[in-house]
Amino acid sequence: MSEKSETIERLSVFKTYKLYVGGKFPRSESGRVYEVTDSKGKWLANAPQASRKDARDAVVAARKAFGGWAGATAYNRGQVLYRVAEMLEGRRGQFVREVAEAEGLSKAKAAAQVDAAVDRWVWYAGWTDKIAQVVGGGNPVAGPFFNLSSPEPTGVVTVLAPQESSFLGLVSVVAPVIATGNTAVVIASERAPLPALSLGEVLATSDLPGGVVNVLSGRTAEIAAPLAAHQDVNAIDLAGADEALAKELEVAAADNLKRVLRPQPVDDWSATPGLDRITAFLETKTVWHPTGSLGASGSSY
């Protein structure tokens, strides 16, 4: 053997960003990709450009996952969401880099965004088994009945993630949807989809059943149109749509009476979000339950 030991330069391994649908990482059915650049126009990676068929597949996956996720106990959902936060924490460095590149932030500012996003998961994880006390409860009725209102998840929710805040904004719209037992089809920010696609990898490794969150990247308007018209989607969050697109999607969504959350201006995604987003995708189920036969005293007790 020769004594000469050359230092061979290592070939770097590029990451292929893929969609996250039904717990798997497919490429787009259409085979298309598009170039993703940083805020200064430097190429970062190719992201899959999802088609309407990917959207359809995502809805099928989300519908399939709905029964199990909505039927899981609120406590269990909280545990799973907390686990997501744990996994995010472990990949903090990666997300800080991706957010910094995508949004043109300094390392410190990007780190603050990622920390806020992790805190946001934990915040919503805590709400899973508390929201029922806040928006549900026992109603006083004039009769021998218990009358209970309980919040129920709406079903499959399409989420247009915010275009500007690629990670904190994304987490702020996805977490409230799934916390209450909905399943989500998420359209990542068109210009900065990489943090969202990486979030898919986190979700896949954190006990979240496949199909509960499905992440699509591509042209928002192209993917959102069939989803807004889809008869098996129950609600749509238009956070990432501009005014014209939002109107168009709202019209399409009216056909099967989808719940629509209109885009609202958000100045600061890191502010405490309140319960608006979590209650937007809940329905109230009211049940009457007889207290039992009335005794002579007018009460069964």
Binding site: R56, V59, R63, P226, A229, H230, Q231, D232, V233, D255
Partner: protein, 346 residues
């Protein structure tokens, strides 16, 4: 990759699967036996065995490659609309559960007559397929719609009963008004080489069907283990006078696959070429999506030919397939993806 295989093996796969023709032509068809030129191969157990084992072996790799390559055809727009309507008209809407109630069968009959109540241009399905004791209920439910009533019989799905019991089962279903009888062959006898026993049983059942009911013979391809056996079973069924040959009961792990259906389509094509008798094919079980159904229709068109693209000669044994076909049909009509909320739950 498949297309390369397909080209290489195309000649092998499409090679006629006919056996050497019998030395002397049959004198006369005897009572009940089918009247074609191959009648004397069923004269005895040994002639039948010699005939069936004389069929050319199946090239499994080529067969699967050809089935896969035909599955890659892209069927869009108007062709797709045609294919979906054709597939709906070929569905044998099936319920074969221990828990079948008259109510469920009536609901199924209503669905067969009007698969999509929101769109009356939807064609009716070909038939409903039920257990013999439900035939009368089904007959009443589809009365006047042109939908036929098929009934499984002969101790379905295992077929493990005495011949007399099986025949009584068939007579019962026919007497109740079944238009079609789906029988299962005795796989035990077939696998142990008693071909004539299987043959005679099919002949007896055919006789019990009389002239009013068409006979579908189920081979349960998933239990025959080899493609050679499926080819032999197909010829055996056709020789015995089946009106339809059907892949499976839907009750075992492996049901209709493109490859075994392709093999059976080749068999009916070659049988007609040799005897002039046309026989239908029915894949059953495991076909759940419109995409799958359209793949099967491509197989039919490319193998047996256009003559079989009719619900008199080709059927799908399925239950959940119909809902997917209807959702696809709604998508084509409205441009919006439909969902399971817009078709019946059955």
């Amino acid at each position: 990759m498949y297309s390369r295989y397909a080209r290489r093996y195309a000649r092998l796969v499409t090679m006629p699967s006919t056996a050497p023709s019998p030395k002397r032509s049959a004198p006369l068809a005897q009572g009940g036996a089918p009247s074609h030129t191959l009648t004397d191969v069923t004269a005895s157990d040994s002639t039948l065995r010699r005939f069936l084992h004389g069929l050319p072996g199946v090239d499994a790799v080529g067969l699967e490659a050809r089935a896969a390559s035909l599955g890659t055809r892209s069927i869009k727009t108007t062709s797709k609309a045609y294919a979906i309507d054709l597939a709906i008209s070929m569905v044998d809407l099936t319920t074969l559960e221990g828990a079948d109630t008259p109510g469920k069968v009536r609901a199924l009959g209503a669905k067969a007559a009007h698969p999509d109540p929101t769109d009356r241009t939807t064609p009716t399905t070909a038939a409903v397929c039920v257990y013999p004791d439900m035939v009368a209920v089904a007959k009443e439910a589809v009365a006047g719609s042109g939908v036929k009533v098929a009934s499984v019989a002969t101790a379905f799905p295992a077929g493990r009963a005495a011949l007399e019991v099986k025949l009584a089962d068939v007579r019962d279903a026919v007497a109740a008004g079944a238009d079609e009888i789906d029988m299962v062959i005795d796989r035990g006898a077939f696998l142990s080489g008693h071909y004539l026993k299987v043959h005679d049983e099919i002949v007896a059942v055919k006789e019990a069907c009389g002239t009013s009911a068409r006979l579908k013979v189920i081979f349960e391809t998933g239990e025959l283990s080899t493609y050679d056996n499926i080819r032999r079973a197909s010829w055996l069924g056709m020789l015995a006078g089946a009106d339809f040959i059907k892949t499976s009961t839907g009750k075992v792990a492996v049901n209709a696959t493109p490859a075994n259906t392709l093999l059976m389509l080749e068999a009916v094509r070659d049988f007609r070429a040799q005897t002039g008798v046309q026989i239908g094919v029915k894949p059953a079980g495991g076909i759940r999506t419109s995409k799958d159904a359209i793949k099967f229709l491509v197989l039919v068109n490319e193998t047996a030919g256009e003559d079989w693209l009719d619900n008199h000669w080709f059927r799908f044994g399925a239950s959940s397939l119909l809902n997917d076909l209807l959702m696809q049909r709604q998508k084509l009509a409205t441009g919006r993806y439909s969902g399971p909320d817009y078709v019946t739950v059955d």
